[in-house]
Amino acid sequence: MPEKTDTDEQLLELLASEFTFERGFGLLVAAYKQRLYWHIRRIVLTHEDADDALQNTFVKVYKGIAHFEGKSRLYTWLYRIATNEALNLVQQRSKHHAGSLEENDAIAVLKADPWFEGDETRLMLLSAIAGLPEKQRLVFNLRYYDEMPYEEMSVMLGTSVGALKASFHHAVRKIEQSIRVG
């Protein structure tokens, strides 16, 4: 996972001035759009929803960057906004659980998405991930797809490394079981 500290500082310098704000915001979008998109997409599953949530995320960043306190890394702050946007969308679609889809719902959603081109195994994998409790799903995605070290994740999610490992292990076992049964 690349460290963004120097880039973040440069971005924040640009965003701190009226004269360079727009340029700084453009660079921020360019720097983080893909990473945030994939984070959102793995929560909401469809491209259309991911695109919507990503745009809303950057609108909120644009409006609220003045409130960024610099206590965490910029990506952590962006990640939280993006996560909230994604979970709000999922919640609107979820009938039973706040913040997560039922596996069957997830399968239906993925099958309807023209931008899903995976086979049956991928369909089972993504729907199993979608069926996890919110925290386990976030931890699994950060570890499995973003390859984030537990230490960094601990800072980002405000959870101990031990608890994160336990979450990841539970998530892996549940997903494997779900794929094998399905």
Binding site: L12, E13, A16, F21, L54, G70, R143, H169, E176
Partner: protein, 170 residues
């Protein structure tokens, strides 16, 4: 995939480790990321999005706070130094001098003769301990006769002074 994570997955679920390198089937339309910025600007314009004032933006600690901390520390050191300097001049010397022997005071006077008026050098205290000399302020009144330096002491001081030092004093 990261070696550590690969190993962790291998232990937990060889199936998931195997699937990890093969993509998840999620795709994006061609040119989506290239066109995203324009699409975002369009949405912001349509919604009339306005940002908050910029005064509150916090740039990371490394760049902005340290110079402030250093400036504060330097100011504090300057103030403490000044307090110590003035305190030393006005109070401390006077009290500490009571504990000095005449040899020590003579040596001090020799080194700093230019800083004293001749009449200041000509004061000594009578008392049980004749080796101790009180340091009085230039404006302090003294009883005639009581604070006069014995002739021997003056001679001793003068003997030890160089011609240049004497000329400077006179």
């Amino acid at each position: 995939m990261n070696k550590k994570i690969n190993q962790e997955l291998e232990e937990l679920s060889p199936l998931l480790r195997q699937l990890s390198g093969q993509g998840d089937g999620l795709e994006v339309p061609y040119g989506y990321f290239e066109n995203f910025d324009d699409k975002l600007r369009q949405r912001m314009t349509e919604r009339g999005v306005r940002r908050h004032a910029l005064q509150q933006i916090h740039v990371p600690v490394k760049r902005r706070v340290w110079p402030g901390v250093l400036a504060a520390a330097a100011s504090l050191a300057l103030v403490l130094g000044a307090v110590r300097y003035f305190k030393t001049d006005s109070d401390t010397t006077q009290f500490a001098a009571n504990d000095l022997t005449s040899e020590e005071i003579t040596a001090f006077l020799m080194e700093n003769a230019a800083d004293f008026e001749p009449e200041q050098l000509a004061t000594l205290e009578d008392g049980p301990n004749e080796n101790k000399i009180p340091v009085t302020s230039p404006n302090e009144t003294t009883s005639p006769g009581k604070d006069e330096i014995p002739a021997e002491a003056v001679e001793e001081i003068i003997d030890e002074m160089t011609d240049e030092e004497l000329a400077e004093l006179l």
